[in-house]
């Protein structure tokens, strides 16, 4: 079989001592930068790129990839422990992961996030190996019309994120959409709601918004309570998973892996939605949706798996079409070109050792991450026993460093602080931040794709229904909307969205 021959060629490349070493370096470095908020894989890879010019092309790519997926592992640690989301995907992990930590289950949350990521990473690596060329064609069929319909579906589904009142969740989604309008108009280049502030012309920075509403708000809320408390209010109950937790997590990991693998293929920001999508699926099908937001382990296992699966399948458009699905992938294409390798469909035939070596190394990298991360859990959990009045200045400091690092400017810190204060009021009013953040992410993408579809169809709205993919997603969105709005569904909805008491 071809696949086995390819994988064994890749295996031979990947297990050379040098390549294993670079894989390890990449994975460890990736975890480290994932743990530090603000410093992303893109910046790290950019800085290390010149060093990799001296390496063999395959070693260089193995190391750079390790940083990339290592960072998606590490990002969950700060979300779970101290409620700092460093990237889009970690926001979802904050919801239930941090709640678990507060209940003394940080060890279980970290363990399931590492295990889920490993399983998802392994499965997604196999998917890349077996189906890359086929899936690449799927990625190409996704145009602005299909993206718009996907965003509509996402936006309607985001109501599921709400834990309290639906009305408040809707208001928060709209607020997120409005905040997403700030910046340069994608169609005309005009400035919207920037009030003459040049720094707002690129829009509000997601990390500033997320850190403000999660980490800063959390600190203000914490400071309002007993200052002598510890972050973990109850005793730390064991580091390992209980039987029930394993039972709940296994199907969640499987579903998250599928959702993440599919969304990761889409170059237009699909990967960003993977963890949100998985969280909404878990909550929607759960028999006890009221547990979500209060430390449901499926709410950690699913999204973490989805996130890592998506990070892995994001390599498909890059490796098979030469089209980068995000900034990090664009940089990897640059690295290939400097090494004299032309990215594109021919890489598989002209550089088989590189192509399959890279894929197999991803699996090794994921394994290393698991082995490396599990022993760290006890150290992380120990950190939580630090008294809160010592811990919170450290949280603020790391957030500020992260915020400053986004654009080398204090403006982002002010922005984060302002959102922190606003977030505190929303906390008091019981308005949740997660639906707002999803609105903020979806809004600009939706607008851009809507305008582009209208332009490319010469203003013909029927374009959304003549594309079968787009039509299917709009129908699904309509069905979901009816499900939410139908009065007959009130009672069922009461179970899904626990009404405010």
């Amino acid at each position: 079989m071809d696949l086995i021959a390819h994988l064994s060629l890749g295996f031979m490349t990947a297990v050379s001592p040098a390549n294993l070493f670079y894989c390890l370096i990449g994975a460890v470095l990736g975890t480290a930068i994932g743990v530090l908020p603000g410093l992303g894989p893109l910046a790290t890879i950019a800085m290390l790129l010149p060093i990799t010019f001296q390496l063999e092309p395959v070693s260089a790519l193995i190391m750079l990839s390790g940083i990339y997926y290592g960072a998606s592992y590490g990002g969950s640690t700060t979300s779970i422990l101290v409620n700092i989301p460093g990237e889009v995907a970690s926001v979802v992990t904050c919801l239930d992961g941090h709640q678990m930590a507060k209940q003394g289950r940080a060890g279980a949350a970290l363990a399931i996030s590492a295990i889920g990521s490993f399983v998802a990473g392994s499965v997604a690596t196999l998917i890349v190996a077996a189906f890359a060329p086929v899936l690449a064609r799927v990625a190409l069929t996704f145009g602005p019309t299909e993206y718009f319909s996907l965003m509509v579906l996402g936006l309607i589904a985001s109501i599921i994120l709400a834990q309290g009142s639906i009305l408040k969740a809707l208001a928060m989604i709209v607020l997120g959409l409005l905040l997403g309008l700030v910046g340069t108009d994608p169609g005309s280049g005009a400035q919207r709601f920037t009030f003459g502030v040049l720094r707002l012309s690129d829009g509000i920075e997601f990390v500033a918004l997320a850190m403000g509403f999660f980490a800063f708000t959390d600190v203000i809320v914490g400071a309002n309570k007993n200052s002598n408390r510890q972050l973990v209010t109850e005793k730390v109950k064991g580091l390992w998973l209980t039987k029930d937790e394993v039972k709940a997590s296994v199907p969640a990991i499987a579903r998250g892996t599928i959702a993440g693998s599919l969304l990761g293929i889409l170059p237009g920001g699909g990967g960003m939605l993977a963890s949100f999508a998985s969280y909404m699926i878990e909550k929607r099908i759960s028999k006890h949706p009221e547990r979500f937001g209060k430390g449901a382990i499926e709410g950690v296992a699913g999204p973490e798996s989805a996130n890592n699966a998506g990070a892995q399948t994001a390599f498909i458009p890059m490796l098979t079409l030469g089209i980068p699905s995000n900034g990090t992938m664009a940089l990897m294409i640059g690295a290939m070109m400097i090494h004299g390798i032309q990215p594109g469909p021919q890489v598989m035939t002209t550089e088989p050792a590189l192509f399959w070596g890279l894929i197999v190394s991803m699996w090794f990298g994921n394994l290393m991450l698991l082995v490396f991360n599990l022993p760290l859990i006890s150290i992380w959990v120990w950190l939580l026993r630090v008294r809160y009045n010592v811990l919170f200045p450290a949280i603020l400091l790391f957030c500020c460093i992260g915020l400053f690092g986004i654009k080398n400017s204090v403006f982002q810190i002010y922005l984060g602080a302002a959102f922190g204060v606003l977030g505190y009021f929303f906390y008091r009013w019981r308005c949740e931040a997660a639906p707002m953040l999803l609105g903020f992410i979806l809004g600009p993408m939706m607008e851009e794709n809507l305008r582009r579809s209208m332009q490319l169809s010469h203003g013909n709205v029927s374009t959304f229904f003549t594309s079968p993919l787009s039509a299917a997603m709009l129908i699904a969105a309509g069905a979901l909307l009816i499900l939410v709005l139908l009065p007959a569904m009130r009672q069922r909805r009461g179970e899904i969205f626990e009404e405010e008491t």
């Binding site: 930068i33 530090l36 410093l39 893109l42 910046a43 790290t44 890879i45 950019a46 800085m47 790129l49 010149p50 010019f53 990625a139 190409l140 069929t141 145009g143 602005p144 340069t184 994608p186 169609g187 005309s188 280049g189 400035q191 920037t194 003459g196 502030v197 040049l198 720094r199 012309s201 690129d202 170059p267 237009g268 458009p317 079409l321 030469g322 089209i323 980068p324 900034g327 990090t328 664009a330 940089l331 640059g334 070109m337 400097i338 004299g340 032309q342 990215p343 594109g344 469909p345 021919q346 460093i401 400053f404 690092g405 654009k407 080398n408 400017s409 851009e448 582009r452 332009q455 490319l456």
Partner: protein, 324 residues
């Protein structure tokens, strides 16, 4: 601030305090402390990668660390504004580009600097021409055939670029104007990659992109390069047609250069001109640049960069005005 900059800044602070006692003695010896090299783009872009390699080579020439300082935002206008207000002692330099010094000041309303008067432009570093590419299904193999096709189907075809008001967009508009008022609608994207996806998939018929980014797609048969907007044939790719042969005057190249705030002393300027020239002529660096179809500028004069920017501003101003 990312980690390397953090460490470098820490190192810089230490180095600075150590040199303070000797400052009076070292006054004439530039550079007396690490040099800040402001890059107006986020880490990871093409320009950033080139800037880091260049900074490394420049620091070997100057004997002091050259620290890359990413200040992204507003197409590089934030970085230009900060450099324009910095001290002109040669310790703050900027990676100037078509974006930071031509399109950002031409298109931005809230821009706080003058791209000529507020700067001492030191030396051009690289030039890279724009290419006009089409999807392989488009029945045109030359620029002349494409012009005929657009004329036959007015307002039916689309071309994409990496951003509204960017040089690629302006180049497309220049093409339309010089070819006799072509009617092909522009579709703006956030960066070149999403536009590439739509042209490879056939949703866009044409695109303007830097030649280095589209060469791989031509090799794999995913795109056809109709012409490059360089002044003459590319030495590295003599097979590619030159746009100006079909459409006289259609020349457009994106540049990178090194600039400082206005009022830089002449001797420091001369020293930086020499050092930058030596750095860009590094054999290995030149090979890396050519691998991504970026041409290092090895022969130039100290006045060439200011003249280049003045010419570019004059060339694109009417196009920008016709758009708004």
């Amino acid at each position: 601030m990312n980690r390397r900059q953090f460490l470098a800044a820490g190192g810089a602070a230490v180095a600075y305090t150590m040199t303070v006692p000797g400052m009076a003695l070292a006054q004439g010896a530039y550079p007396s402390r690490p040099v800040q090299f402001v890059v107006g783009f986020a880490p990871g872009g093409n320009s950033d990668v080139i800037a880091r390699r260049f900074a490394d080579l420049l620091s070997k020439q100057l004997g002091q660390p050259v620290v890359v300082d990413n200040t992204p935002g507003a197409g590089g206008a934030i970085a230009s504004g900060e450099v324009a207000r910095a001290s002109a002692d040669g310790h703050t330099l900027q990676l100037a580009s078509a974006s930071t010094h031509v399109t950002a000041p031409l298109t931005g309303k809230d821009v706080s600097f003058d791209p000529i008067k507020d700067f001492t432009h030191i030396r051009l570093l690289t030039l890279q021409p724009w290419a006009i590419v089409v999807n392989p299904q488009v029945p045109a193999n030359t620029l002349a055939e494409m012009i005929d096709l657009i004329k036959a189907k007015p307002n039916e075809l689309f071309y994409g670029s990496g951003g509204v008001g960017g040089l690629a967009h302006l180049t497309g508009e220049l093409f339309k104007k010089l070819a006799g008022g072509l009617q092909i609608e522009h579709v703006g994207y956030q960066g070149g990659a999403p536009a590439l996806q739509d042209i490879v998939a056939g949703r866009l018929q044409m695109m303007v992109e830097v030649i280095g980014a589209v060469l791989p797609y031509q090799k794999s048969g995913q795109l056809k390069i109709l012409a490059v907007c360089s002044e003459k044939k590319l030495a590295s790719h003599p097979d590619l047609a030159v746009a100006a042969d079909t459409v006289p005057g259609l020349v457009s190249e994106t540049f990178l250069g090194i600039s400082a705030p206005k009022g830089l002393q002449d001797d420091i300027r001369a020293k930086l001109f020499e050092a930058a020239g030596a750095a860009i002529s590094d054999k290995k660096f030149m090979e890396e640049l050519q691998a991504v179809a970026t041409n290092p500028v090895t022969e130039t004069t100290p006045d060439a960069m200011t003249m280049h920017i003045e010419n570019e501003l004059a060339k694109w101003k009417p196009i920008v005005e016709s758009l708004s």
